[in-house]
Assembly symmetry: C2
Homo-oligomer: 424 residues x 2
């Protein structure tokens, strides 16, 4: 089947999935979990073949680690399918109900988006997560995994396609797998059929998708996050938050890359950096007068290290800290440490980022920690969804009007007028 | 000033506007109305110069009509500024409030998007509307009007820029005017500085913007809307709704282009088309056996006439009507006439359009009629905002977290756990 036919099949399935009941969608998810449990050996065997190929090709350590499945990881996949079943239904809810006039009723209803394309790298559990969130929210999904997990992804996709056919045969085709780079190019060109692209992976992947399609893209390329230590901050808290924000998991997007410190508390810097001796510090000139470290250059302020490296800058004011973050940051997640509620208020309102925190680690910026139930991704865009995105990010709305033969001419010509009464 | 400098100035002003109080934003709007009232002669004089140029250039009738201002139209502009002052504040509202753990509080707050680019054609009142909605929602706006209204737009922009300086000097630069086609190209390239483009005008304009920028675009190119007359529909209601949906204002996007009729009620067709003798009918083969009309060809089903022309097709089933609309329509606005609540339910849920109506005219699909207070545009995209878009469409959200030194490591290592308690 050509990519065009695959995507068209998904689109047709999406129309049916959009009106499937929550029960039916959950039955598919339960069937997916059942088949995955039953066929776990087949999944592990396929994964072993991928791992073997990866070993021969000397795949980089972290990628290899993400690729390889274990009994425990498959069990976690099955658990995650169950947890998606338990999530509240993201579609069908009425968001607004308004009487426009007697007998003329407007509602705004949550509906699925339609067809979503997801491109992910190496980890096969991403396929499970995205396929399940897609079905839960009534969307068809075009899946493209990393070539290094090709065999695993094929088996997982075949199992889930079988689960759909067994649980809801009319929805066959709602999950489509595409495999090659050429396929991706074809997918990115189908902006009439695909409603949203979600790239999950490296900055390079996200940027490539953003720059090569007219389909809206949900996600973020960079995570250049900051912690700002304000004048009068608590020294112990500042050290603990800096350490947690930098080192608790340095490879992820919501870890900080730059520490900003108000000049009045620059004397705290030695004790702050002492909390994380494993971190390479790159400081501005003033920082280097109080801490023994490498010099930071202009590029450091806009670099996402994703590693145990931290740039440090002493600033003259809260104003300067906010200006630095808005200029060099990626509008992702930034935090302030301060005792002043006035300074915190300024920071939270004026830093133009999807998440802003006061006296808390930047690492909290995450769908699960925020209590969204599931995370589709973190968006630094300001359109549609911003920050950690839950299932709601896979939905849109539709206006529905019910009348009794109402005509606009009657209102335009003054024979009737609108009541616009909010209901329920 | 270069376009880059203009947009950068707007971006800087946007940061300040984002934290301006509602009172301050309303004061600007009041100053805008005051200056417009005071300087209405200057506006009318500039408009007379534009009209003179347009006459010499033989500008098409409808464009000329939209361009020319009168005392009455200026008065309407002033009234519209007052009505925007009276609208509820679209920003600052808390949408979600959740305790993540003791002392760790998450809120999601409505904030302005930032910098919005608006491109509109001929009618100078669009400048007033968009500038005021932008200021109300805390956004800086880059304005590009039609070249035929150049003089009028210059005077209006100068007045509003002066109003900002007088009412809130720190926000100077929040409204920028650009004038040439080259300027537009430069604007469309600034996807790092501009957050949203709103083209208001012809299908060609919208399509040009969509195809020439990476900035998200809010709007719709086509309005190919349908009315479907189901089996067992009331003949009089069907005729009245068809006439209203087609003729009440045929040049707008929510007027219908195609009438679909269930074969069991095709005998109603003569009386339905008799309600609108001024309309040219183009019928499918079966239609032509009951109505004397021109033949419709395949292209007619996907043509937006924006005129007194209507294509008519007899379909075998509700199923076929829905399939026709999803295939040939533009996902804008579609309506069903029926007595069957079951058929209506199927139609409303399965037609993939931003507005769907049952026994009501498609012409109701409009921000004012829907009671949104103001209309930014009608979006057929599924991302961000769909259907008639009010002031909420000019806002986004920001997550704000307040803690007391909370660290993620404590949760990752099992020393603490999340409460995720919904508040307020």
């Amino acid at each position: 089947m050509s990519i065009q036919d695959q995507v068209h099949t998904a689109r047709e399935a999406a129309y049916k999935l959009a009106v499937a009941t929550e029960k039916r969608r959950n039955e598919i998810l339960i069937a997916m979990g059942g088949l995955l449990s039953q066929e776990r050996e087949a999944v592990l065997e396929a994964n072993a073949r991928d791992a073997e190929t990866a070993r021969k090709a000397d795949l980089a350590g972290p990628l290899y680690k993400r690729l390889v499945l274990s009994d425990r990881k498959v069990e976690t996949m099955i658990e995650s399918l169950r947890s998606v079943v338990a999530l509240p239904d993201p579609i069908g809810g009425q968001e607004a109900k308004r009487e426009l006039d007697g007998g003329l009723l407007l509602t705004r209803v949550r509906v699925p988006i339609g067809v979503i394309g997801v491109i992910f790298e190496s980890r096969p559990d991403a396929l499970v997560q995205i396929a399940s969130l897609g079905i839960k929210s009534g969307n068809a999904v075009i899946l493209k995994g990393g070539s290094e997990a090709k065999e695993t992804n094929r088996v997982l996709h075949a199992l889930f396609a079988r689960a759909i056919v067994e649980a809801a045969p009319e929805l066959a085709g709602a999950l489509q797998l595409v495999e090659t780079r050429e396929d991706i190019k074809a997918v990115l060109a189908l902006d009439d059929e695909i409603d949203l692209m979600i790239p999950r992976g490296s900055n390079e992947l996200v940027r490539f998708i953003q720059q090569n399609t007219r389909i809206p893209v949900l996600g973020h390329a960079d995570g250049i996050c900051h912690l700002y230590v304000d004048s009068g901050a608590d020294e112990v808290m500042a050290g603990a938050l800096a350490k947690d924000s930098k080192t608790q998991y340095p490879a992820v997007c919501n870890a900080i890359e730059t520490l900003l410190v108000h000049e009045s508390v620059s004397s705290m810097l030695p004790s702050i950096v002492a909390t994380m001796p494993e971190v390479e510090i790159r400081g501005c000139e003033r920082t280097r007068t109080v801490v023994d470290c490498l010099p930071a250059d202009e590029d450091d302020w806009s670099t996402e290290y994703n590693d145990l490296v931290l740039s440090v800058k002493i600033v003259d004011s809260l104003e300067d800290a906010i200006a630095h973050i808005n200029r060099y940051g990626s509008h992702h997640t930034d935090a302030i440490v301060t005792h002043s509620s006035e300074a915190a208020d300024q920071f939270l309102r004026r830093v133009d980022s999807s998440s802003v925190l006061w006296n808390a680690s930047t690492r909290f910026a995450d769908g699960f920690r925020y209590g969204l139930g599931a995370e589709v991704g973190i968006s630094t865009g300001k359109i549609h969804a911003r920050g950690p995105v839950g299932l709601e990010g896979l939905t849109t709305t539709q206006y529905r009007v019910v009348g009794a033969g109402h005509l606009v001419a009657d209102y335009a010509e003054g024979r009737r007028s609108f009541t616009h009464r909010e209901l329920g």
